[in-house]
């Protein structure tokens, strides 16, 4: 079998069922290397660039622009020049036949709900491997923030993402949670009840405050820390962003807040704003966000001291154009902490620069596991 590779509509997360092909970024006959951007795909949440999973020549485009296709649909074929047209046609026909069979046997990835201490927490566990990874999202977010990278991380690690109380599919009542230490205690109970520790932690924004509290409380459970656009390290989140996000009740107002999250404002689709608006309308969410905001306000001890007190390897990932939490100077960080600063990226690198973020995490955890 010669090297012929399928290009399919990717599945960027749990709830993505179909993607709309907004356009190709490569012409038929054009050569791409693995990782090059191939096409722009729009989901109900974001518009993202599909990176080529293989190297080769884009021999055939099989999908129409501005049409939606279910995840996994073959939209193009990559192959070297020596592959003939008829071989490609045969490949396409075989692939489609096999796809129908795959569809029938596919099991759907589903989040689960855990009852703990009188509250419900929504979890998404993907991948079964010896090395474990815990993903902690930020303010007003949820497990979906990892959707561009979790399934790829799950190819090498057991990954566990959860919705913090007050977020996503978890219960919205924050009674009994008065500090990030309380949240850390809750997470510790979750991971221990599932025999999930020790683990690597990847945390974003406000999730970093939780991760640091967990690492301080139970350092033996935490093998490494990847802290993305971190709160709790000195600079408090932009008050304009917080006020706008908490106070916004209309799509227009909320759009203003959400645009502060990204350098490329194309990520703020109407679907993304709608989903956020729907979340904000749920009973208890307003109160929960207020409470988190006040926790964040009071959680800004000296970042260097805080990191120096921890013995596990730590890396920071930050977008240089983060308008929500401005990046710290690399010089102000302790020597044991690496900083990856992504140019032209805002507050949510795991969405806006998902491949770079993913590679950073894989390299970092790979290194620490080897040493």
């Amino acid at each position: 079998m010669k090297n012929i590779f399928p290009i399919v509509v990717p599945k960027w997360g749990l709830e993505m069922e179909e993607g709309r092909l907004n356009g190709w970024l490569v012409e038929e006959g054009g050569r791409v290397a693995k990782g090059d951007e191939l096409a722009e795909i729009e989901t109900s949440k974001v518009t993202n660039r599909l990176e080529s999973p293989y190297s080769g020549i884009l021999r055939k485009k099989l999908a129409a622009i501005d049409r939606s296709y279910p995840c996994g649909t073959l939209i193009g074929v990559l192959a070297e020049p020596e592959v003939t047209e008829s071989e490609i046609d045969a490949f396409v026909s075989d692939y489609r036949t096999a796809a129908v069979q795959r569809d029938e046997s596919a099991t759907e990835v589903r989040s689960e709900v855990l009852e703990i201490k009188g509250r419900t927490l929504r979890l998404l566990q993907l991948g079964e491997h010896p090395t474990r990874l815990l993903l902690i999202h930020g303010f007003g977010s949820g497990i979906d923030t990892w959707s561009a990278i979790q399934d790829r991380l799950a190819q090498q690690y057991s990954t566990l993402a959860l919705d913090l109380p007050g977020h996503g599919g978890s219960s919205k009542d924050l009674a009994g949670i008065d500090s990030f230490a309380d949240l850390a205690a809750l997470l510790q109970e979750v991971v221990q009840s599932r025999d999930y520790a020790p683990m690597h932690i990847v945390a974003h924004s406000m999730g970093v405050s939780v991760a640091l509290a967990l690492a301080a409380r139970a350092p033996d459970l935490v093998k490494t820390l990847t802290l993305i656009s971190p709160a709790g390290l000195g600079s408090t989140p932009n008050p304009a962003f917080m006020q706008c996000l908490i106070g916004a009740n209309s799509r227009k107002e909320l759009g203003v807040a959400l645009k502060m999250l990204f350098a490329d404002q194309g990520y703020v689709t109407r679907e993304f704003v709608d989903a956020m608006l729907k979340y904000k309308r749920l009973d208890g969410v307003g109160t929960a966000l207020q409470k988190y905001a006040s926790l964040l306000q009071s959680d800004s001890s000296n970042h260097a001291d805080r990191l120096r007190g921890l013995s596990m390897p730590i890396q920071l990932i930050w977008g240089a154009q983060d308008e929500v939490i401005r990046p710290v100077e690399a010089e102000s960080l302790p020597a044991n902490v690496g900083l990856a600063l992504f140019d032209s990226i805002g507050h949510v690198p795991q969405v806006e620069a998902s491949s770079r973020t993913l590679n950073r995490i894989l390299e970092f955890i790979g290194q620490s596991d080897r040493s």
Binding site: K172, N249, K278, R281, D283
Partner: protein, 338 residues
């Protein structure tokens, strides 16, 4: 979150609020499937009013909170208005909006006016649910819209959900609201399904929903006409016309800002309303736009409404009576042609 019908979404809203607040009571004809005995004796899930919205509630909340009434709409509304004044939060089920005619005094002169007349010393947190709309061959006395009548009365709020998600959020908001709310459910929407969160949520009144973004023409529609206009917008799109579809959600209060924002950008307007045209909601919107966007519009605005006749019983005539995709598309082409 899962796919739920408009009917289920409304049922969930009632259930959530009755669990959350014991002051919430229901009253109406057959809302407990006709059972006036103890809740234990009530049948399984068969009941819930002629439209099935209150199904299962008498079993959970009992006959003291799910009150089966005699066939007297004026008694239902009179009782519920009084109950609201004393601190309960009644949801009256009036079945068909056409029947509200016999309780206009209770609605127009009592419920709507009491807070004003008593200088704010009394509140009337009353919800009146009623089904609206034609298309079911239910003839002239069971098919009207009548939203314009209630929108006309200061002191009433009027909500008209166009989908299952809005139905749940708007009904919860209506029950929590301290003023009387006329809550109008379209008969042709009860079976439509949408993703609806399992948790309670509320959608503020006076916040229009922009269902489609477009730069060419603003289409304003309410209730079931939103779904019809959506189909028309798809057709228009295939002709290269980008429609911005705006659903006011509540006709009172009215989100004038969102409507005018859209109109001043597209400068072309089609207003779709299933109601009759004279002194109707479409005419009301048209007047507002004519006043506030005078000189800005690139074409005379177009109204797509029912004609000034009763709703015909004959299926053929009823079909001709209703605004439909074709009529909306023609209006869109008309404003684009100038």
């Amino acid at each position: 979150m899962s796919l739920k019908s408009y009917r289920q979404a409304l049922n969930e809203a009632l259930r959530h609020e009755m669990r959350r607040d014991e002051r919430v009571i229901l009253a109406g004809i057959d809302i407990g499937a006709g059972h006036t005995s103890a809740a234990e004796d009530a049948p399984g899930d068969g009941g819930g009013g002629v439209l099935g919205v209150t199904s299962g509630l008498i079993q959970e909340f009992g006959i003291a909170r799910v009150i089966e009434t005699p066939i007297s709409e004026s008694a239902i509304i009179g009782m519920c208005t009084g109950a609201a004044c004393t601190g309960l939060r009644p949801v009256a089920d009036l079945m068909f909006v056409d029947f509200l005619g016999v309780c206009f005094d209770q609605i127009f002169n009592q419920a709507a006016k009491l807070r004003y007349m008593f200088g704010g010393k009394v509140k009337v947190p009353l919800v009146i649910r009623a089904s609206i709309g034609a298309g079911m061959n239910a003839a002239a006395q069971h098919s009207q819209m009548l939203h314009a009548l209630f929108t006309h009365i200061p002191g009433l709020k009027v909500a008209m959900p166009s989908g299952a998600y809005d139905a749940k959020g708007l009904l919860i908001q209506a029950i929590r609201d301290d003023d009387p709310v006329i809550f109008l459910e379209h008969k042709g929407l009860y079976e439509m399904r949408e993703d609806v969160p399992d948790e309670p949520y509320s959608i503020p009144f006076g916040e229009a929903n922009v269902l489609l973004d477009g730069d060419d023409v603003t289409v304003l529609a309410t209730s079931k006409m939103v779904q019809v206009a959506k189909l028309a917008a798809e057709t228009a799109r295939s002709e290269g016309i980008e429609v911005e579809l705006v659903d006011p959600r509540t006709t009172s209060p009215l989100d004038e800002e969102t409507i005018m924002d859209s109109v001043s950008r597209t400068r072309r307007v089609v207003i779709v309303d299933e109601g009759n045209p004279r002194c109707g909601f479409a005419a009301d919107l048209a007047a507002m736009i004519a006043i506030r966007a005078h000189g800005l519009l690139r074409a005379p605005l177009q109204l797509v409404t029912a004609p000034h006749t009763p709703v015909p019983f004959s299926p053929t005539l009823e079909k001709a009576y209703l605004p439909n995709e074709g009529k909306i598309c023609a209006a869109i082409r008309q404003v684009m042609a100038v």
